[in-house]
Assembly symmetry: C2
Homo-oligomer: 512 residues x 2
């Protein structure tokens, strides 16, 4: 058995059965091993940002890591920005990065790069394999690291000779350490704070945004009057009919500060204390009042459901807060506004759809406007590195088979990883992509004002995507995805309803 | 004057008048400053790999650095693979990477990343600005570093407050240190070796591949019988009619070893001793014989023309070797082979065209097959990180106005940075792109055999781009570039001739 075979066997034995791949020469033994070892679904992408973003989407929905297969330092580098997003989402990912053979690296051949140096800032665990006999053990350790709470990125660099040499040994799976539980003293102290009745916010993120912990948070809110709020950007929120509703902190500084005005206690549950996405001249950096106390109920790596349940019990909070009721609405008519798109999506969203929201500027009404829709999951770009949405949708479709993916995508952001459409076509994934074609980097127009910078012709030209217009129907067709353009909200509703009923991907260019 | 204005003024004063940009919030003050300070041509790209690859192409043709403008760590990360290629090409580039404000960085907002850590492996010079008063000086130092021989990458990270704060000071340009000259003793020793008449190769790279140093190498070859050879991948070769011809070392190990068989002396002129691009089981890593001596006439950072001229003088080599004569050929007819495409390109190549060659597997006949064409420059991907060609062509067009760019591009590689087409349309660049559509990662089929890996259905599926086919005419049209498909060599000739005569970009999908 060669090293590559021991690597693939160990990944499978450790529960990894999906590999998003953009391989090169140094990964050919791994690719070849897949022929002899059944069980690994290998998904090809044409750019590495698609590979890593898809692995993120897969992890968020499947609740376990996929592997990625990347080619040397530059292949990894192309995937780093979506690994940055994945790190901010606490997604479990096992990167397998092929590299120069151990004896070849000192010769500094053209493709030699600082693979480890690039990997470390996004990886909780980084290791370069040294020989075929131990790469199996390395792989088991990588999966263990990836599965360690709250979900981490592990990068195993595999020099080609560690894959082609004989002597590979399949390693047994290594169990990740159990998630730690919230401290009893912290729970008691926070219960005291909440009983005292000062204005408080339960600030819930990450695993606390699934239906059960949200319901527990709801019981606490019902009993104490505390509000429940989520960060601006989140990995996965279970919401819609039958769930406890959670509002998100606004992106812009002023409304975020307003939302937390007067709050005396922010209680963190799997979330960090909220800070501004960017600094702006003469604006605050922290979104909570200066005299507000920050309490940690559960860190991101602790069991949020357990912590919220125990806090609810400590408060004798047994009564569920009202859950969201389904409010049937009609698709919107009239102008193509953010609210109208939200209403149409809410009207036509399939049960248990997965919404991937990279709507950026135009998308600000989407989340509130879909609160009473059928039950669904809401996935966002978590690290601010745009170009996350199309890959996320691609991976989510593979991680959540049988559920429709609705990908609400700003046009400027979509272009960074547009190659994802080809993978959606190749794998015939059930993804409805809505390109919000405003033909500008609209968010930057706001940011230009936000930083107080004056805007003249040259500046505005840098934010303008009309010279030439991107023609999304052609681009999608060119990558094998059927597509159509909607220039009215009524046409959008027709296309959206039809797209969601079909098998395989469809793209709607919505001119806004 | 704010920091951003002092930064832009200093760049201009230091001779930088072109900026390839994909900006975000943290760069808005820089963008805004461009409105008030005339003289900087700002070129927008929709993905950062296009930005950095274009800056590489620009530097190779203009002989001076452009600036890039990138957004935070993830924006830089998206551009790293083409910076890797640029580093291998010794291209001069000044990266300006906006980042979190100095006081905001400790708060670890979502987009915060290890920007310096990612920059260092590709940058000879990396610095994070600390205040508005000194960012001008930082910029002057960055340009100096970028212009230091043989051409380097300098990365200046600009926290947003160093740009928006008042107190910016324009800095005077800093002269780079003069290129060092070859050692007199080395020249004398190499002259003795060459006079002795043992089989020798002048291995010339980088700046030694321009017309004048090649002519000097030709005089030495003419006098001594030494052969002149270039590495496999090179930043820029001046060739065609009127130049001294230089062959390249083959990519594959066996023919490369055969090409250097029996050679007793390899004399390096701006090149490194040749090693295999990748290691393969049981194949040699060094391409030259074990008993061969390696001599360094000039390092990459030394003046190659000076060194070759002095060596030629020491050898009393005054007679020019025969230069290439233009051999007019007809466009090919018949099957679409690599040789036929090369012949057609040779027949129709405009005078002083710039050929960007990322033909990969199918392109192997292109270089030899165009040896007798009109004078032209030949640019290659130097670091092996595919997805270099379309951006390189984009930047070359801006760095060499008035010259036709011919971009010979493998389809799989083209997809990594396909967004370059939009910039070509926006700037109406004179680029003829030829997509060599073999609809597979053909080079990897060879590499799969090369590493001795067996290939079955799963493996072959990972190298296959037919499910679905990429439709390049639609993709190009979708990004505003006119395009047509050629499925015969005759149709290709017609389209190629027409495309080269027009203004602006055109794409030909050549089905091979």
């Amino acid at each position: 058995m060669n090293g590559a075979e021991s690597l693939v066997h160990t990944l499978l034995k450790s529960g990894i059965d999906t590999c998003f791949a953009n391989p090169g020469t140094s990964e050919m033994h791994f690719v070849s091993a897949l022929d002899r070892i059944p069980g690994m679904r290998c998904v090809l992408a044409l750019a590495e940002g698609v590979v890593t973003g898809a692995a993120d989407g897969y992890a968020r929905m499947a609740g376990k890591p996929a592997a990625t297969l990347l080619h040397c330092g530059p292949g990894l580098a192309n995937g780093l920005s979506n690994l940055h997003n994945a790190r901010r989402a606490n997604s479990s990912i096992v990167n397998i990065v092929g590299d120069q053979a151990t004896h070849h690296r000192p010769l500094d051949a053209p493709l030699t790069a600082d693979t480890e140096g690039w990997a470390r800032p996004v990886s909780a665990w980084t290791r370069t394999a040294t020989e075929a006999a131990t790469i199996g053990r390395d792989a088991a350790a990588a999966v263990q690291a990836a599965r360690t709470a709250p979900g981490q990125i592990a990068t195993l660099i595999a020099p080609s000779d560690t894959c082609w040499n004989a002597g590979g040994v399949v390693a047994e799976p290594l169990a990740p350490p159990p998630a730690t539980r919230a401290d009893e003293g912290a729970i008691a102290a926070i219960a005291r704070v909440l009983r005292a009745g000062e204005p408080a916010v339960l600030f819930v993120g990450n695993a606390a945004l699934r239906a059960d912990p949200l319901a527990a948070a709801g019981r606490i809110a019902q009993k104490t009057g505390a509000r429940v709020m989520a960060p601006t950007s989140n990995r996965r929120i279970e919401r819609g009919a039958g769930r406890f509703p959670v509002t998100r902190l606004p992106y812009a500084v002023e409304p975020a500060v307003a939302a937390l005005k007067g709050v005396k206690h922010v209680i963190l549950v799997g979330a960090k204390a909220p800070v501004a996405f960017f600094a702006y001249p003469d604006k605050p950096a922290r979104m909570y009042p200066d005299d507000c106390d920050i309490h940690v109920l559960a860190r991101e790596d602790q069991d949020a459901l357990d912590a919220l349940t125990r806090l609810a019990d400590a408060l004798d909070a047994r009564a569920d807060a009202p859950f969201i009721e389904r409010v049937a609405v009609e698709p919107a008519r009239g102008a193509v506004t953010s609210e109208a798109v939200a209403q149409t999506v809410a009207a036509l969203l399939p049960e248990h759809a997965v919404v991937v929201d990279e709507g950026v500027s135009f998308g600000r009404a989407f989340y509130p406007g879909t609160a009473n829709a059928a039950p669904h999951d809401w996935l966002q770009i978590t690290g601010g590195a745009i170009g996350n949405g199309l890959p996320l949708a691609t991976g989510a479709a593979i991680g959540a088979p049988g559920r429709r993916i609705v990908s609400l995508q700003a046009d400027g952001s979509a272009m960074y990883t547009v190659q994802a459409l080809w993978t959606q076509a190749r794998e015939q994934l059930d993804v409805t992509t809505v390109i919000l074609a405003n033909r500008k980097y609209a968010i930057l127009l706001g940011e230009l004002q936000g930083v107080g910078a004056a805007a003249g012709k040259t500046a505005l030209d840098m934010l303008d995507l009309t010279r030439p217009n991107l023609e999304w129907v052609k681009i999608a067709n060119g990558m094998g995805v059927e597509a159509a353009q909607a220039d009215t909200i009524e046409k959008f509703a027709d296309l959206f309803a039809t797209a969601n009923r079909r098998k395989g991907p469809f793209l709607i260019e919505l001119v806004i």
